[in-house]
């Protein structure tokens, strides 16, 4: 018996006008795998995420999330298949409370209707109670529970990123996609976050795909790494192998010093 992959991407290509942003991208992820997607700026990493989550439609290729072809699906339907993401340029719901942010994350699990909301039916109240409790639990994983009723925009940058992860986890995904979760964090914070991501994977038993610009970072926690450069997959494999791959080193050395 074969275990269903949470993700199967095959020959995925996208062109914007004349520019081929990603070409012939292949990636399969098994349940509970921790995979890194790295590459210099503009390599096409975020574009891959946008295709996997339905923001962009690939020009060619096939993407399956939990075995289902996502070709004709909208972004919200792909989330229902079990893929939830965060964004490189933070997209928390700024003027809403942390609690509301996380509760919206659990949107696909709500079963009551607007009529239940208006009538405050038993179904509504049971569901709301449970949702609030689950949201607080998720917030406490990231030490944010004490600020549950504050507006998301009042959080410092790093906490907004953590809130976004909590919100994505509320969807109870099988595959969590994190787009540069450590961007803008200092070294200490980054190490803490990486440990947290590892913890989340173990606790919820989910697969995680992390985009990271900085190669060193993902080395510590990822079991497998895929390197993109100019939209092409130039290497993939174990972290140590990647670290010593001359092609990868060249791609990174070609980068300006501040990268």
């Amino acid at each position: 018996m074969t275990i269903l992959n949470v993700l199967d991407a095959q020959g995925v290509t996208i062109r914007f006008g004349g520019l081929t942003a990603v070409s012939e991208f292949n990636l399969s992820i098994r349940p509970t795998e921790l995979v890194g997607l790295i590459g210099p700026n503009g390599a096409g990493k975020t574009t891959v995420f946008n295709m996997l989550t339905g923001v962009y439609k690939p020009t060619e290729g096939e993407i399956r999330v939990n075995g289902v072809d996502t070709k004709s699906l909208k972004a919200c339907d792909i989330t229902k298949l079990g893929a939830a993401r965060t964004f490189q340029n933070i997209r928390v719901f700024k003027t809403l409370s942390l609690l509301d942010n996380v509760r919206i994350g659990g949107h696909i699990h709500y079963k009551y209707s607007w009529a239940d909301s208006v009538l405050h039916s038993v179904k509504f109240r049971e569901h709301e109670e449970q949702a609030a409790q689950e949201a607080i639990e998720l917030l406490s994983i990231f030490d944010l529970a004490h600020r549950a009723h504050d507006e998301a925009r009042s959080l410092p940058y790093g906490d907004q990123r953590r809130l976004e992860i909590a919100r994505a986890l509320a969807a109870k995904p099988k595959l969590l996609l994190l787009d540069e979760p450590a961007a803008g964090l200092n070294t200490g914070e980054t190490a803490g976050l990486m440990a947290q991501i590892h913890e989340i994977r173990d606790r919820f038993g989910i697969a995680v795909l992390i985009i990271e610009h900085n190669m060193e970072l993902v080395m510590g926690i990822c079991e497998r790494i895929l390197v993109l450069n100019y939209g092409k997959t130039i290497a993939q494999g174990h972290p140590e192998a990647i670290q010593n791959d001359p092609v990868v080193i060249e791609a990174y050395l070609g980068e300006p010093a501040d990268a």
Partner: protein, 339 residues
Amino acid sequence: MRNWLVRDVLGITVISAILIGLSYLLGWLPIPGMAYYNRVIVTIGINIILAVSLNIINGHAGQFSMGHAGFMAVGAYTSAYLTYFHFQPFLATMKEGPAQFAMQQVLFLAALLAGGGIAALAGWLVGLPSLRLRGDYLAIVTLGFGEIIRVLILNIDKIGGARGLAGVPAFANFFWVYLFVCIVVIVSWRLIRSQVGRAFLAVREDEIAAEAMGVNTTHYKVQAFVIGSFFAGIAGGLLGHYLVYLNPGMFQFTKSFEAIVMVVLGGMGSISGAVLAAVILSVALEALRFVKEAFGLTADPRMVIYAIVLILLMRLRPQGVLGNREIGSFFRRRNGRSE
């Protein structure tokens, strides 16, 4: 046990009893010109329904609709058509007395709900283009819709066309208006504290993030339109049956704009803000009537006043009187806010 049903029926009964008591009290108060004040109070109520319902579309779901008067017109004419051509003649065949009175209330409620229902249908139809349009474009489409409805009514002779429809039965009163004020406030309040309302807010805040969290943004935009226009239709029905007269001129763009000014003035997304602004603006407009008479003005100075209100607002408090908060939150201690 469906105890929520029992509780809500009880709640509505209590609210109704209070409203009936209040309406008698208003009738009995020995104040000279009470009939006039009564009319102002009812007008305020209708404006509250308009502002709170528009706030669901504009404030909560963040879809800039400029066609609220159009939905109002649909509800007004639908319900008036029913009562004028069908219910009134039927009631005339009944013997005068409590049975006729009760029947009148039931039929009026049915007419109002039908008006709201057809307006909701119109809201659904107009909500569909919001699948593709955003911001300014949606505003223009809804503005166009409002005008189309008005021109359509203008050309239907059966319901009076440009002459208007005189002799709409006088079924609406303080009780009915404020019953629906209570209903729209409670419905809006409960929705925004449920997942449906939070989905509206998510759409307003960030559509891409909302979609990524599994919120079908199209579905919720349309749903906001449907709910908002339902209550606009109810407000229209109440207006017609209170003024005993309808005329397409009552539902011009200025009426939509009036509702927008109320929502913006109160603070986009704040229910209590919408109520407060509806009261303030209704009273201000009524006061303006005296100014107009005193200075012997012939033109309607309303649009000038709206412009001044909006300019002042942008200068002094761009987020509206209450911002996106509710009035209660100003009295509660703000705990743990760091900034």
